[in-house]
Amino acid sequence: MKKTIQIPLGSQHISLLEPIRFKFECENEKIIGVDADVGFVHRGVELACTRSFEFKQVGYVVARVCGLCAITHSLSYTLAVEKLLGYVANDRIKYLRMLMVELDRIHSHMLCLAHTAENAGFEALFMQIMGDRELVMEVQEAISGNRVQFDYISIGGVNRDLTSELVDLVRKNLTTLSEKMEILTGLFDNNWSLSLKYKGVGVLTLEDAYTYNALGPLARASGLATDVRAETSDFPYEALGYTMMLESTGDIHARNFVRLREIVNSIAICRNIVDNLPMGEIQEKVKGKPKGEEIVRIEAPRGELFYLVRGNGTNTLERVRIKTPTFSGIPAMMEVFKGSQYADAPAILASFDPCMSCTAK
């Protein structure tokens, strides 16, 4: 007796930004089995980095692995190469890089929140968050010259300086944004229909988070305290007001809340950065060719981003290995899908904030 329906979700689907294909085995609309396929976006970036590009270009190539966390990709790569070359950036460069990463985190989290709301059928909330998000986009465009692919970081520094007008703009927009965030937090907490759609839905338990090695906001929403910003000392996060946001329930609501609170935290960090910006050069000459092997971990908006770079003393690198946070998020996601309703699937998917182009490279 066949009682199950197969429901496809993807590779093209209106609730998806990127191609990923799920095949749900459902009883009525209750999901009992999932089959996932993530390889639609594979372009072969890793190989190309060691064949067709010189190591100085690779920073801009790996940024194209993913548009949402482009800045963290180029930062990780740059840091790795700088370590190979024995270069340590000055504080101003560090602060500027951090500023961009945190701004990127804000816009990425807001996009995720908006997308989750849209996929839960709440169009007005989507519009509201997208409207507020433009405040960050404006700042990013003003600082880097581009809205999405910033190409801000280069080996030995950053490409543009932060002028005092820009500092004013950052302050102004972030103040407005933090007011909006309070409204949003209240909305996410109190809306009756959102609580039906979010609370207790798509629960990733702490054990599952351990088992499947979940990273980033979704691990923190399950109560797993993991954040590279607290674990490494490449950047002075603790000094600039970083706190780790933890939730315990692990449902969509918790993930949203981790993101909401991280946005608030990132706003605070950004303000601290522009308030305490040290003086110094923004671009320094770095000489030599990378030789040896180096590992770098950076907290991208979706969790730990891992880079391995190996050079052999020539202009072309020997190996670039990228491991992205979504890669380990997908098995966890498949586990969460089982037992939930198909009607929730798009919202759960969006709340995991998967980045397929990161995963498939």
């Binding site: 007796m1 066949k2 009682k3 199950t4 329906i5 197969q6 429901i7 496809p8 979700l9 993807g10 590779s11 093209q12 689907h13 294909r21 095949k23 009525n28």
Partner: protein
């Protein structure tokens, strides 16, 4: 009158004597034509016919009753069924006592009134067609030729039993015939003689025997209170005990009508060959239930008992429709929907106003036609395509367009205007609404009517969806070969449905109702327009850009065990409450 009863008996003898060949078609067809004509002539005449039974006949009846009960007892012992043994013994004792105190003489034992004439129409019109159909159906059944003949002869005999039961005026005669229908269902359900059939047959036996017991109890009370066993005398008298008798008889109707919690026997009956399901368990035999309530309705109207009965019936309508959604076997789905609609008919009959009784009769007629059609079509699917399960029926419209067409027609006639079931429900809402001010309890009936109808629509279209779901590209549909033995009964039934629907509209004389038939025109026009669509290009369905085809299954709702317990417990209590209220009033 005699024709109706004797002709099937004679025909059955002929069927047994003559070998299983074309001659059976001839016999059954001629029986069908004669019976239908006679029933019609009865229906058009207005006189009320009565018969007195002679003394020897009465003796025969007693003897038949005792033999029958002893046979049940024997079957109970043979298959070690405690329920059957116990109930048979109780019945034997009760029957002996009742017969000993039963008064003799009095009014006629057989009265053919308007209600009986109406029932004749259903029994002979629909039943005859089913017998005709069963000739072709049995040809493919893997049993011996004698058994095939026996089967048809049995069905024919059953017709005459039914013809007699609807004009029985004596409760005791009614009891005998009631038990004979029980016997018929027992024998026909266990016809295939495997373990499952046997078990279901015994289940049907003991459940129906509960009905027998309450009838005897009713007779007992009637004799004690009024010294009569005749329906008409009883219904004319007044006073405390009448309602108790009526309550007991109504309980037997609930059992026969497979109202919850007794729906088990009717569903078990679906293992029997399809003509049996069609004949006994949807078209004719179970109609005894609403018939009995209709007979009792003059007393019931506006009493607490009447309200309780109609509420029970209405709740059965909802609950059975709901339970049906969890089923997969096509015939079981039909069975559940029969249970549901019988509940509705009883509810309407028990309200007891003239209008609601008419509506109950309308529902009976149209339900018999539609359900018979559906069951026969289900039989065709079973024999020709070997599908029983609705999951196997996906896209069957391509393989069997004709049969599927008949099934869809059946569903349409059960749900849409201008067919009788729809009109019946529609008018019922109007007529019950006008009673609401006096009897607020009927609000439950209105509600159940609406919710139940909605659930039934859900059910039917769940099945239709399986039949219709076709892939995008239309290969030329295959020509379906439907043997005449199957197609003629189906066409006859469809024709009857349309004709009666048209007749009903004309009788109503309401222009609006005629307008309601207009959407149907659209449905009829659609197939002819299909040809014109050739010029449009075809595409594949959208599957998110993927190329593989995904297969959808049907929705189903599995009530949890707890919900089931609540439903059965509730209906058990309602069943007991009927007797209780009867005693109180």
């Amino acid at each position: 009158m005699l024709t109706l009863i004797l002709l099937p008996i004679i025909a059955s003898v002929f069927t047994l004597l003559l070998p299983f060949k074309r001659v059976h078609y001839f016999i059954t067809a001629s029986v069908l034509v004669t019976l239908t004509l006679v029933a019609f002539s009865f229906y058009s005449s207005t006189e009320i016919v009565t018969f007195h039974l002679s003394h020897s006949m009465s003796f025969l009846i007693v003897a038949a009753d005792v033999i029958l009960l002893l046979y049940f007892l024997y079957q109970g012992i043979k298959f070690r069924s405690a329920n059957v043994i116990f109930l048979s013994a109780v019945q034997l004792l009760l029957y002996g006592y009742v017969e000993s105190i039963a008064p003799t003489g009095g009014p006629a034992e057989i009265v053919v009134d308007n209600l009986s004439k109406f029932m004749f129409l259903i029994i002979n019109g629909v039943g005859g067609i089913i017998v005709l159909y069963s000739v072709r159906y049995m040809r493919d059944e893997p049993v011996s030729a004698t058994k095939k003949s026996l089967f048809i002869a049995g069905l024919l005999l059953f017709l005459s039993i039914m013809n007699l039961i609807v004009c029985a005026n004596s409760i005791l005669l009614f009891f005998l015939l009631f038990e004979m229908t029980t016997l018929a269902s027992y024998l026909l359900i266990s016809f295939r003689n495997d373990t499952l059939s046997r078990a279901n047959g015994l289940k049907a036996l003991w459940m129906n025997q509960i009905g027998g017991v309450v009838i005897l109890l009713g007779a007992l009370v009637a004799i004690e209170g009024y010294g009569t066993v005749m329906f008409d005398t009883l219904l004319k008298s007044s006073g405390g005990m009448v309602l108790f008798t009526v309550a007991l008889l109504a309980m037997s109707a609930l059992v026969k009508g497979a109202a919850l919690p007794f729906e088990g026997w009717l569903l078990g009956a679906m293992v029997a060959p399809t003509p049996v399901s069609a004949m006994l368990h949807s078209a004719t035999m179970v109609k005894i239930a609403p018939y009995l309530i209709l007979k009792l309705a003059p007393v019931l109207g506006a009493t607490l008992l009447g309200s309780l009965l109609s509420v029970t019936g209405a709740l059965v309508f909802v609950a059975a429709s709901y339970l049906a959604l969890s089923r997969f076997v096509f015939k079981e789905i039909l069975g559940y929907s029969t249970v549901a609609l019988l509940g509705l008919m009883m509810a309407l009959a028990a309200i007891g106003t003239k209008e609601s009784m008419t509506l109950a009769m309308v529902l009976m007629l149209f339900h018999a036609l539609s359900k018979a059609l559906l069951f026969l079509a289900a039989g065709v699917l079973e024999k020709q395509y070997h599908v029983k399960n609705i999951e196997e029926m996906k896209g069957l419209v391509h393989r069997a367009p004709k049969t599927v067409g008949f099934i869809l027609f059946g569903f349409i006639s059960l749900t849409l205007p201008p067919f009788g079931l729809f009109m019946g429900k529609l008018l019922a809402i109007t007529s019950i609404s006008s009673l609401l001010r006096e009897r607020p309890a009927l609000l439950i009936v209105v509600l159940s009517l609406v919710i139940g109808s909605a659930l039934l629509v859900l059910l039917y279209f769940k099945v239709s969806s399986a039949l219709l779901s076709a892939p995008s590209d239309i290969l030329p549909t295959q020509k379906e070969h439907l043997p005449y033995g199957f197609s003629i009964p189906l066409i006859l039934l469809a024709f009857y449905s349309i004709a009666t629907a048209a007749g009903f509209i004309i009788i109503q004389g309401d222009l609006f109702i005629a307008w309601l038939a207009l959407p149907l025109l659209l449905v009829i026009l659609l197939p002819s327009m299909v040809q014109k669509m050739e010029r449009y290009d075809r595409i594949q369905p959208y599957h998110c850009g993927e190329k593989e085809l995904f297969d959808a299954a049907l929705v189903y709702y599995e009530p949890s065990i707890r919900v089931r317990q609540i439903i059965y417990g509730g209906f058990g209590m309602l069943f007991v409450a009927v007797a209780f209220i009867g005693v109180l009033s």
